[in-house]
């Protein structure tokens, strides 16, 4: 017969056991996330470093050997193009969606439709964007494998991302800033540029950096729009193929020659370095603004 007030020890024990299992499993899960990330990074770095030559950075690809200077410059050219095209369109779209779009209570508003379209486009697989770019820009418009279709396809891919990050950065700017600007008689456009956008700049910059990291690591949309070439990028928007860093990884990993394998791993290493630099830069921007905000 149980005495009232005496704790049920078996229940306590099973609860304690469940608690230990819970704590252990969260840690195991974390290890399962971080472990493979470290494994991938180390795996690629350790396979690339033993035969690493700095000349890879300055010699162009020759067949399935040589260096990567053409691909590095091509990737930088693509990133610059994406920064100009997608940066402009994405930031403008974000500003519009956050600040200027008409707000109505109705279910089907123009703003709502534009919003949903941005979300839906973010979910469209990048290979289909490349497919469309190939059919419409490379073939139908006779642009051939070249810089412009590649930049356009990559831009369409990252515009939703930049728009979203810009929008959320702008939403964190206090409303009182806008009210203050209006009370001082500033026009909306001027207040946007000088006050609202400037306050949101760190968030916008972070979004742009991460969008660049995404686009520099993409392959599927580029295979059928940029082509590949062993020569350095030319100052031409169309009719001249552009090399990029993900191509050697994809194309040379199953070649029979060791030189091709080396090149694939070298390209992977350079890519990882590039992406890491961009991600760390994004982190630094955030850390810097947080330090200011804390003061």
């Amino acid at each position: 017969m149980a005495v009232i007030g005496e704790p049920d020890r078996s229940a306590t024990r099973s609860r304690r056991r469940r608690e230990v299992v819970f704590r252990m499993s969260t840690l195991v899960a974390l290890v399962l996330v971080v472990g493979p990330a470290a494994w991938i990074l180390l795996g690629v770095v350790l396979r690339a470093l033993p035969h690493w030559r700095w000349s890879v950075l300055v010699t162009p690809t020759q067949g399935a050997a040589g260096g990567l200077s053409n691909a590095i410059l091509g990737t930088l050219a693509l990133m610059a193009g994406v920064l100009v095209v997608a940066g402009t369109l994405g930031v403008l779209a974000g500003v519009f969606l956050s600040e200027l779009a008409p707000v109505t209570g109705r279910r089907w508003s123009v703003t709502g439709i534009l919003h949903s379209a941005t979300d839906v486009l973010a979910g469209v697989p990048s290979i289909t964007l490349g497919f469309v770019g190939y059919l419409a820009l490379v073939l139908a418009l006779h642009w051939g494998y070249s810089l412009l279709p590649a930049v356009l396809v990559l831009s369409v891919m990252v515009v939703p991302y930049i728009a979203k990050s810009t929008e959320s950065a702008l939403r964190q700017v206090p409303t009182s800033y806008r009210e203050g600007a209006e009370a001082l008689g500033m026009r909306q456009g001027y207040a946007l540029r000088k006050l609202v956008l400037r306050s949101a700049m760190p968030g916008v910059a972070t979004g742009l950096l991460i969008a660049l990291a995404i686009s520099s690591g993409e392959t599927a949309p580029l295979l059928y729009t940029a082509g590949f070439t062993n020569t350095l990028p030319k100052a031409a928007l169309i009719h001249h193929p552009v090399a990029y860093l993900t191509y050697p990884v994809w194309n040379f990993y199953d070649y029979p020659t060791p030189a091709a394998h080396y090149l694939a791993y070298d390209a992977a290493l350079v890519l990882l370095a590039l992406v890491l630099i961009l991600l760390i830069a994004a982190r630094l921007v955030v850390a810097r603004t947080q330090r200011y905000a804390d003061r």
Binding site: R16, R18, E19, V21, F22, R23, T26, L27, A29, L30, L32, V33, V34, P36, A37, W39, G43, V44, T88, L89, L92, V95, F96, L100, A101, L114, S116, A117, T118, D119, G123, V124, S126, I127, T128, L129, F131, Y134, L135, V159, P160, A163, R187, G189, Y190, L192, I214, G217, E218, T219, L223, T246, V249, W250, Y253, A268, L271, L272, V275, L278
Partner: protein, 364 residues
């Protein structure tokens, strides 16, 4: 003059009249610019914000136009047939329903559709519990000096290009799994339903399970990052209340934190699913990129729609009638429809939850 001092006041004016004239001109330009600036923002914003909608329409029109011959000629066979046959591209051309295609060509995408769904299902089933556990560890359990760098590690995992993950998957992970892990599993599996899918042969490490594992790895950061955001939005008071009532951490997690963000987690899962469905390069490298095979067990080679597009698009142009490209375009439309559906369902769930429920006692 005073307002525009920066623009015109640098040099001392020679004559007051001239200075006034210059000032008024500068001011006129400035005010005109300011008056137009709002309009420029608005017009530019309208145009830029319409780009995603325009792109979506453009994508569907281009793909739909290209896919039309395949839709008409292949009919429902496209979804049920399991042979991807280009026919004899150097042989005779025949006409069906007015569309030219090589004799003997017929396209069934069922293995690709099934492969897409199978790999994504494996990825989601593996990734969701791991992501939830990792997010709990990062937001609730670990101190900041430890969780911040580990959070950055998750961000790095999200940023690793998919070809690099594919390279690692096919040359490092796959061989290890095929030599040491898969045989150990396959040799000890009993021949009963479900578990029989894990029996021999184990293959060479390129196939369904390896692809699912790597895809899971690729969507883990997405789900983890979203879940971390969700968990940190749960107000501390209900959690502390639970602890004060004598609940363990596990019980608080199960009865307070998870119900609070349940719909958000479903949304995050579906976003991860969308990414897994459309992932191309890693799958093309790791799955074996087969066209006509549904893997008989979890180890065999197979293919997905995205991998088929990237590996077949080049060679589809040997078909002079364009019918092979048309079939690929139809496959692409199917892929877009599947991913967009997953996305829309995610948004619907999130929107519905936002409309209904403010849980009791939610404090700012």
């Amino acid at each position: 003059m005073a307002i525009l001092g920066g623009a015109t006041g640098a040099a001392p004016p020679a004559s007051p009249v001239k200075a006034m004239r210059r000032a008024s001109l500068a001011r006129r330009i400035a005010t005109a610019g300011l008056a137009h600036e709002s309009r420029v923002w608005k017009i530019g914003g309208w145009l830029a914000a319409s780009v995603p909608l325009g792109s979506l329409v453009f994508i569907l029109v281009v793909l739909g136009h290209k896919a039309w011959p395949s839709v008409i000629v292949n009919g429902t066979h496209f979804f049920t047939g399991s042979a991807w046959k280009p026919g004899s591209t150097y042989g005779t051309t025949v006409h069906t329903h007015g569309f030219a295609h090589p004799a003997g060509s017929s396209y069934g995408a069922w293995p690709l559709i099934a492969g897409t769904l199978q790999t994504s299902a494996i990825a989601v089933v593996l990734a969701v519990p791991i992501s939830l556990g990792a997010a709990f560890a990062l937001t609730e359990r670990l101190p900041g000096w430890l969780s911040r760098p580990l959070g950055f590690a998750v961000e790095i995992l999200a940023g690793i290009p998919s070809v690099v993950i594919g390279l690692w998957g096919v040359l490092t992970l796959g061989p290890i799994l095929a030599q040491d892990v898969y045989p150990a599993i396959a040799d000890h599996m009993p021949d009963v339903p479900v578990l029989s899918y894990f029996r021999n042969p184990v293959g060479h490490g390129e196939g369904l399970l390896t692809t699912g594992l790597v895809l899971g790895l690729m969507i883990v950061p997405i789900i983890t990052a979203t879940t971390c955001d969700l968990f940190s939005q749960v107000p501390p008071l209900p959690k502390e209340g639970g602890l004060a009532l004598g609940m363990t951490d596990a019980e608080v997690a199960r009865r307070v934190t998870l119900p609070w963000v349940r719909t958000g987690i479903i949304g995050a899962t579906l976003l991860g699913l969308g990414r897994a469905l459309g992932e191309t390069m890693a799958v093309a490298m790791i799955s074996g990129a087969a066209l006509n095979t549904i893997s008989p067990n979890v180890f065999g080679t197979m293919g997905t729609i995205a991998a088929a597009i990237v590996t077949q698009l080049d060679s589809s142009f040997t078909d002079g009638t364009g019918f092979a490209t048309s079939a690929l375009a139809e496959a692409a439309v199917v892929l877009v429809v599947i991913t967009v559906l997953a996305n829309l369902v995610a948004r619907l769930i999130i929107a519905r939850s936002a409309r209904h429920g403010v849980p009791v006692g939610r404090a700012g």
